[in-house]
């Protein structure tokens, strides 16, 4: 596949305008999320920190910046961003575009709540800014949240301003025997609680006194580290309302599907060596009112399953930003225009 790595804005615009179709690309850690791209010119934007003022608790980076590098910079100032991709080489732009939240969502919220301003280039080469650089801002419509999880279908994200936070002064993983029922009620603000069918893992962060109190309150045993996400060629992420996480986990366990559930959040990572594992996991999720996103593998499986409500509005959004369907075709297929005349403009 052709890969363009434009070094400035003009070059990026020229590349986008000249290409038949564009496949916005980051580090490629989650290249299959949300649908398999139908070719197109792969475009990767530069890395680099644009601005970081620790006193403002914000940091602005070019979208090609690896999260690992951002984290190292912020760590020098005792700060962090709660993006937490599974692979630190993932780029900031890639994490935003896929919208997959990380380990500590329970405490710090989803990816969409970490983004303050986003700049992106649309199919016709226009640079668009949405949001603003301050920690608090309600000026205008929320383009940053629109772009998070948009999978490159609306444009190429080139820069983002993110919320930085003080790094917790203490942090500890601990475990308990499952199931996780009731554990959330005994903890105050855990950063992460997982359940893999045999062990509950808890990440407590904050003032060292609080970390200790959290572990005591839930009678946990200190652990060297966190749980592993399930491994396998075919991977997916279930999203269900938190109250059904235990029945969903129990059914996955009975079906022999490896999983790691985030208690209190409602995501369940699943994996298998055969695509049928994802088919079965999707059936479990949908039976409980949720869904499964195909993350990798299972090429024959639809990326999303049942299209969401509001798909007509989504199609009109797509048409407004990318009328000719040139951005990331194949990803989020349900927003692509139906055959001529079928979509109201």
């Amino acid at each position: 596949m052709d890969l363009s790595t434009p070094s400035d804005l003009d070059e990026l615009r020229d590349t986008i305008v000249a290409a038949d179709t564009v496949d916005p690309t980051g580090a490629g850690t989650h290249a299959e999320v949300g649908g398999t791209p139908r070719g197109g010119r792969a475009v990767r934007v530069p890395a680099g920190v644009v601005a970081h003022d620790p006193g403002d608790l914000t940091v602005t980076v070019r979208a090609g910046t690896p999260v690992r590098d951002l984290d190292a910079l912020l760590a020098e100032h005792g700060q962090m961003c709660a993006l937490d991709p599974t692979d630190g080489s993932a780029t900031v732009g890639g994490v935003l575009a896929t919208g997959l939240s990380g380990w500590r969502r329970l405490r710090y919220g989803p990816v969409r709540d970490q983004v303050l301003e986003v700049r992106f280039v649309t199919a016709d080469g226009t640079l668009v800014k949405g949001g603003g650089p301050t920690v608090k801002n309600v000026s205008g419509f929320d383009l940053p949240r629109l772009l998070v999880g948009s999978l490159g279908t609306l444009g190429v994200i080139v820069q983002a301003t993110l919320r930085a936070r003080p790094r917790p002064r203490g942090a500890a993983w601990a475990t308990a025997d499952g199931p996780p029922s009731g554990i959330l009620a005994r903890l105050h603000r855990p950063s992460c609680v997982t359940w893999d069918g045999s062990t509950v893992h808890v990440l407590a962060e904050g003032h060292p006194a609080d970390v200790e109190a959290e572990l005591d309150a839930a009678e946990l045993t200190a652990a060297a580290g966190g749980p592993a996400r399930p491994a396998g060629e075919h991977r997916g992420r279930i999203s269900v309302r938190p109250r059904v996480i235990e029945p969903v986990a129990a059914e996955l366990r009975r079906a022999g599907i490896a999983f790691l559930a985030e208690v209190g959040v409602g995501t369940v990572d699943v994996a298998g060596d055969d695509p049928s594992a994802l088919v079965a996991a999707r059936a479990v999720a949908e039976a409980h009112g949720g869904r499964l996103l195909r993350v990798a593998g299972a090429p024959g499986l639809d990326a999303f399953g049942t299209p969401p409500p509001g798909v007509e509005v989504m199609r009109r959004i797509k048409a407004a930003f990318d009328p000719d369907g040139r951005m990331a075709p194949g990803r989020m297929p349900f927003v692509e225009a139906a055959p001529a005349g079928a979509v109201a403009r």
């Binding site: 804005l9 003022d53 006193g55 403002d56 608790l57 969502r105 919220g109 989803p110 969409r112 709540d113 700049r119 649309t122 226009t126 640079l127 668009v128 800014k129 949405g130 603003g132 650089p133 301050t134 920690v135 608090k136 801002n137 309600v138 000026s139 205008g140 929320d142 949240r145 629109l146 998070v148 999880g149 936070r165 003080p166 790094r167 603000r189 904050g206 003032h207 609080d210 109190a213 999203s239 269900v240 309302r241 938190p242 109250r243 409602g266 995501t267 869904r291 299209p307 969401p308 409500p309 509001g310 509005v313 989504m314 009109r316 048409a319 407004a320 930003f321 989020m332 927003v335 403009r345």
Partner: protein, 468 residues
Amino acid sequence: MADLAAALGPGGAREEPLELAMYGKDAGVTRGRPGAVCFPRDAAGVAGAVRIARRHGVPIVPRGSGTGLAGGATPADGALVVSTTRLNRILAVDEHERTAWVEPGVLNLDLTRAVAHLGLHYAPDPSSQQACSIGGNVATNAGGPHCLASGVTSAHVLALDVVLPDGAEVRLGGLEPDTAGYDLRGCFVGSEGTMGIATRVAVRLSPDPPAVSTLLLEFASLDAAAATVGAVIAEGIVPAALEMMDAEITRAVEDYVGAGFPRDAAAILLVELDGRPGSVAADTAAVGELGRAHGARRVRVAADEAERALLWKGRKSAFGAIARIAPDYYLHDAVVPRTRLVDVLRTVYDVADTHALTMMNVFHAGDGNLHPLIVFDASEPGIWDRVASAGDAILRACIAAGGVLSGEHGIGLEKRDHMPLIFGPDDLAAQAGLRAAFDPDGRANPGKVLPEGSRCGEIAGAPEGTWI
């Protein structure tokens, strides 16, 4: 009217002149004249009203409690105002999941009161929380002092059942953490009524902290107070709330409610810390020491819940207190990078001096969200021009310092024409494109948020100079 009366029943729609005048404005400074106002009782009623308005070619203007300050609920002339006050039921509370489904007319504080026995609360707490509605909070993406640590409304809304401007009903977002496709929920929150009307809102409830500590720090200068704010953040402490009040507003509040505020301080900080007892005790000591190191002449820690409540009553009574000083006020809302607070405050006071106006400041210092408050008597000839001119100068100063137009009140009608100060034509066109995807015919709250001429598809203007 006949159609509305038939659809909504007796009293469901009104067009008496006095009533129309009442629904012609919100708590801000703009005014319009609606054609009618209606009070649906359920989602079907809202959808019916929207379809009737559409059939008659009349725009709709959703309205919560009318406490907004930016003119978001000020109707275009002849519009149908859809009031959500009768959609006021709390439909379901799940204490384990910490979620609730509520109708949009439920008042913010009523929701918190209804879940208090479960050890839960709804985090966004605008100063108007006794009167403002959840639906209005959704429309403006409202904030409040405790949004410093927990984020504004959008971080607390999980799902919405909405009536789109064409009358169709659709669910946006969900109780599951990730829904497929674009985050329409995120787009709708803060859309100020331009994308439809919410009929049910699923909110995230927050657990009450095991320990809370509230400090009052008194300073002999604004600079010392602002330096303390910076020092607290630099120490890695993000308080639950971090509020500043200047000398004028502190005195006014003390005269009004007797909260125990000092009448002679140049500035006070109200700092709230919450969490488990260990960190709260440690951080309380640390904030006190940082304050003293930066010139606090007195640090008081609320000894009990009653004293704590009184301190907050003082903070939240600011806008009642100023009624004793002058009959009218104009409250601004802008955000600056926290590190620029002192510079911008100086400019704000200069602007007041050059316009010969009385200015007070009470604001969310922790996140740089300023609320300059101009008090005046509207009967004084020519005063409004001076107030408006000062407001414009303040906004420009905030933006020159790298700030934005609104931190929690919204844009509405009031700041619509200031939008080009922070967004270029392409940025505004993109926002217009998003809005048009929800409302292709421009029937929902027309004329709000975006200045005239922001069109989807109009690609114009020079690129911003910098790469990205």
